[in-house]
């Protein structure tokens, strides 16, 4: 046999040739998160994967509060299009630089009360707890006005019952915590059908909600109108 004798290095070099040479530079937000608590990346990505599995396939997806786009590639993988909005200019610049494409679009804006189109899915993870209570209604209304008639809304936020264990950075930013009842009630103002899931670490489940570290609420069948 004249087959060339390969070693492990040759095999890996072949893989590297297939991978291309794009380089991702994270911004301050995710660089901090990775330094501070690297396992959080797996928790956050699993929330995005769950949202993507529920409601991204062949849909135009809008994400409200996308930060640097850490979950954008998961949300857009099977979507028709992806739009991410965030008011943090550094975060949006990082997202644009790393990920902008025909399919993925990032907008720097304070999204409260604004419409960006008619989307099949609106996702907002780890955002509502940063919205001051007086703007809460407007936050949910923003999801509503961006959704197409048969659209699906996905909202995730840390459970109020886990607040005691939150880090300083988390506690500093959290100004409006939710438990299952409060989140479900808020979503039921927009949707006829609302499902609530719990997440502990990276595992999504339907267990006893006060012991869930994180809550994800999925709303579908939009109501005809919402109270102002």
């Amino acid at each position: 046999m004249e087959e060339k004798r390969r070693n492990e290095q040759d095999v890996w070099d072949e893989v590297k040739r297939l991978m291309g040479n794009k380089q991702i530079t994270l911004g301050h937000h995710w660089s901090f998160n990775l330094y501070n608590d690297p396992k959080r990346l797996s928790f956050v990505l699993s929330r995005y994967k769950f949202a993507a599995k529920m409601a991204s396939k062949n849909k135009d997806v809008l994400e409200l509060g996308c930060s640097e786009g850490i979950g954008s590639t998961i949300l857009s993988e099977f979507a028709k299009s992806y739009t991410g909005v965030d008011m943090d200019i550094d975060a949006i610049n990082a997202a644009k630089q790393n990920l902008s494409s025909d399919k993925m679009n990032f907008i720097q804006d304070d999204f409260l009360g604004k419409s960006y189109g008619n989307f099949g899915t609106v996702v907002s993870l780890d955002v509502v707890e940063h919205i001051i209570p007086v703007s809460e209604q407007l936050f949910f209304k923003t999801i509503y006005i961006n959704l197409a008639e048969d659209g699906i809304g996905v909202v995730g936020t840390p459970n109020m019952t886990s607040a005691a264990y939150a880090s300083l950075a988390s506690q500093t930013g959290h100004v409006n915590m939710f438990d299952e009842k409060k989140l479900k009630t808020a979503m039921e103002r927009l949707f006829h059908i609302v499902f609530v899931f719990g997440i502990n670490d990276e595992i999504v489940h339907t267990g006893f909600s006060p012991m869930a570290h994180y809550l994800v609420c999925i709303g579908c069948r939009k109501k005809a109108g919402i109270e102002a």
């Binding site: 291309g20 994270l26 001051i132």
Partner: protein
Amino acid sequence: MKNNKSRSCWEPVKDIMGKHKVIFGQHLSYQFINTPRRILHMMSYYKFASKIIGKGKNVLDVGCGEGLGTWLLAAECGRAKGIDTDYEAIETGRKNWKDSKVSFDYVDFFAVDSNETYDAIVSFDVLEHILPENRFKFWNKVAELSDDNGIAVIGTPNITSDQYASPVTKAGHVNLYSGERLEEELGSIFSHVFMFGANDEVVHTGFLPMAHYLIAVAFHKRRL
């Protein structure tokens, strides 16, 4: 007004975050763009390893790539060293993770000096890239580098999932394992082997042939 208020409550968080910038190298960047869920799966394997290993341990991460998981092991377990034969990946790791808890070496696992032993040897997605004729060289090195009370956490894709693998993934796989073979080979080096399966980010003890990924936890090395 409202908008300005909600904007301002993000600012204190930004103050805490500081000005670090983590740069992904070729491999993680490829994954982040093309197969982003793989990063989730990998990080959950590392989290699993860190929980199994525990606190106050010195860990060797074999085939650490760019060292994102090595940093998780260091942060959670106390100390970690990552080694890899990919020079660019090691340089990426060194640049991103500057901390006394973590270090990186550009060195072939087979050539690692066995004067230093570790509380735990972790190796994810390496075994399937080792040529079959070198596999016992690999196991012996794992045993050699682990402390008498050390544990090994070895993860590799299940051979039963190979039919679904992407071309890029398949290009590198030269030594795929079933649960039985992994348990048997590790069992010849260590007295106890616990077998886990992983599907996506969930690590479990379910029916192994249907597990996408295999993670073996082995300890109490045999006197050879």
